[in-house]
Amino acid sequence: MNRIKDAFSAIRAEDALKAGTTRFMQAEIQKASAKKRPAGKRIAFASAAFAVLFFFGALSYISYFTPTAFLDFDINPSIELSVNRFGSVIEAHAYNREGEQILSEANLKYKTYQDATRLIVDAAVGGGYLRDEAMISVTLQTDNIDEENQMLISVESSMAAAVSEHHIAPRAEVFPVSAEVRIEARGQDVSPAKYLAILALQKVDPAATVDSCRDHSIGEIRGLTREHHGGAGEIESGGRQASGGPDSDMGHHGGGHHEAITLP
């Protein structure tokens, strides 16, 4: 077998072939290395991309779940809606049992405030709280003056559309309040409109308290105020209604800017 071994020993890879193959492999290795981003850079790039995504994700989340406006409805069911900068309801709070009843029937979360307004009116009509002689008081508190005007108009329009569908014509008022009024009212667990009505009553009847008036409607509280006042004139704390004056019928909408009602 030495003859086979000797014969094959003469077969050797040519130097040119070895050199050419080595160059070819080096070129392939360098090409692959150029394509491949170093692990450190890849990790840094991935981390930066994740950080940017996380930042914008967190920003969007915070932005979406931060209320920029508060709409308080007082029909006698009393409800407060927290609205974000996109006009969506992110939280609904009931001030009383009737309000809880409305919220259990109408899912208002993540609806636009216009849709939420219509749903509240629908539920209030369905629950028998809203009839021709009833009163709807809506207050708006926001720090954005442009948003305020736009929202007041939208809420008025939505309410008008909703009540006309039910062929009723309740009295309605929509007016802005300051943050101070809303916070004070929330502290007493009544709607800002009712809180202002109670403050007006207390001016003519110092014995009146929030607790004694809590279960009365705004119309009833204003009626007591008028009685103590001798039935004359308008009540200064009553705010303004959809048409620009208190206790007007729905469907007479006024324009222009509303001044937010503040505490005396």
Partner: protein, 162 residues
């Protein structure tokens, strides 16, 4: 992927082995060069480490044999051979007796050539060859036996006694 140093080392260590396998199967230098480079490129691209030097060598032999088979399977390349390619096959310096042995090996059927080379030159056992080529052990014994008989016929009676 292997480093440039690993690639250089592999070429230095296994170039002759791969070249001999190419010689056994390919008729022209151009095909041999292609298979030679392809084999070492596959080596460079292999990410998994080898268990040992023996494992590394066996892997390269298997890749080279398979690459030669692929060339042989290519009908167009098998049938069309340029004059330039025919002229490019290098001539090896060896005595006539050596040339006669190589001619006798190359005259063997394709499947016998690998076992002759691996058994007589590389010193692998029939079991190892069977594992390396993915063949049955008995098949390798049969091929070896038949190849030996044919070589004896071609090279004379003294071949079997060496």
């Amino acid at each position: 992927m292997k480093s440039e140093a690993e690639a250089r080392r592999a070429v230095e260590l296994y170039a002759d082995t791969v070249r001999r396998i190419c010689f056994l199967h390919l008729k022209n230098h151009s095909d041999a060069e292609d298979v030679f480079q392809e084999t070492f490129l596959k080596y460079v691209l292999r990410a998994a480490p080898f268990e040992s030097g023996e494992h590394e060598k066996a892997w390269l032999i298997r890749v080279a044999v398979n690459a030669c088979k692929d060339v042989y399977k290519n009908f167009f390349r098998r049938k069309v051979l340029s004059l330039e390619a025919l002229d490019s096959e290098p001539s090896y310096n060896m005595p006539d007796s050596g040339r006669a042995v190589l001619d006798a090996v190359l005259a063997l059927p394709e499947k016998y050539r690998n076992v002759v080379y691996l058994f007589y030159y590389e010193g692998y056992s029939a079991v190892e060859i069977a594992s390396l080529l993915g063949k049955n052990e008995n098949t390798v014994y049969t091929w070896l036996s038949r190849a030996k008989a044919k070589l004896k016929d071609a090279l004379g009676g003294d071949f079997a006694d060496e």
